[in-house]
Amino acid sequence: MTENAAGPRYDAALRLLDRQIIDRDGRLVAKVDDVELAQREDGRLEVVALLTGPGALGPRLGGRLGRWTVAVWRRLHPAESPQPGRIPFGDVTGIDSAVHVGRRLADLDVDGFERWVDAHVVTRLPGAKHEPE
């Protein structure tokens, strides 16, 4: 990040993509898998949201791996038409080595896919209830 007279400047891919998102209590939320831009009336593009989860990462990866990522996510996701997790940029309170948001994890619209896989797949694997050493 660089400061100029108008405020901080960021190179988006370098400083936002794949960064950890941390909630107001310091809990890890997700990684920034993509960034949503919107065109304002004056034509300028503006950052409006951070996107998380395989539904955001897959298209960014592209190619066969990207298509496979999205296909598996859609297949396993409990929702009929799943959407990537979306955190409005207005919830972002700070950007340093991580992206900080001013809300709690439970209140954020992040992709519940990992929690669903944990509850429905991982815990059913043999040995999944083994106590950590």
Partner: protein, 132 residues
């Protein structure tokens, strides 16, 4: 400046809201002059704070594009800070990306999402390094 043909792309957006685009889609777009001469590809998107507020912080607007002439992966930031070292690695990355540069938003004529192309009015790229 107002890019005239910024077309909607994924994800679908209700008609009452601005068209939504993804940064990941924008990366890799061809950058060409209005005469059609290729200048490179979008390697990164430089953001700057605007005067409006989004929640508790200033809005972030696209200020310009980092343009590279090769798909050599991330520039790792070594090309954008004069003081960022190690020196040998910085020199190597800068040599690999010696044709990379910057196009300010004011020089952008259009962003064509369907054709994956940014058309600019300038014939040359600006210096890439951000001043600290």
């Amino acid at each position: 400046m107002s890019p005239s043909d910024v077309a909607p792309s994924e994800p679908a957006t209700p008609a009452s809201e601005p068209a939504a685009h993804r940064l990941g889609h924008l990366l890799g777009f061809d950058v060409v002059t209005d005469g059609g001469r290729p200048l490179g590809h979008v390697n990164d998107v430089r953001l700057a704070t605007g005067h409006g507020l989004r929640g508790t912080r200033a809005e972030l607007l696209v200020e310009g594009f980092v343009v590279g002439t090769r798909h050599a992966g991330s520039l790792l930031g070594y090309d954008r800070r004069s003081e960022q070292g190690p020196r040998l690695l910085r020199m190597l990355v800068r040599w690999l990306h010696r044709h990379a540069g910057y196009v300010a938003w004011e020089a952008v004529l259009s962003v064509d999402w369907a054709e994956r192309r940014v058309v600019v009015r300038t014939e040359t790229l600006d210096d890439l390094t951000m001043s600290s």
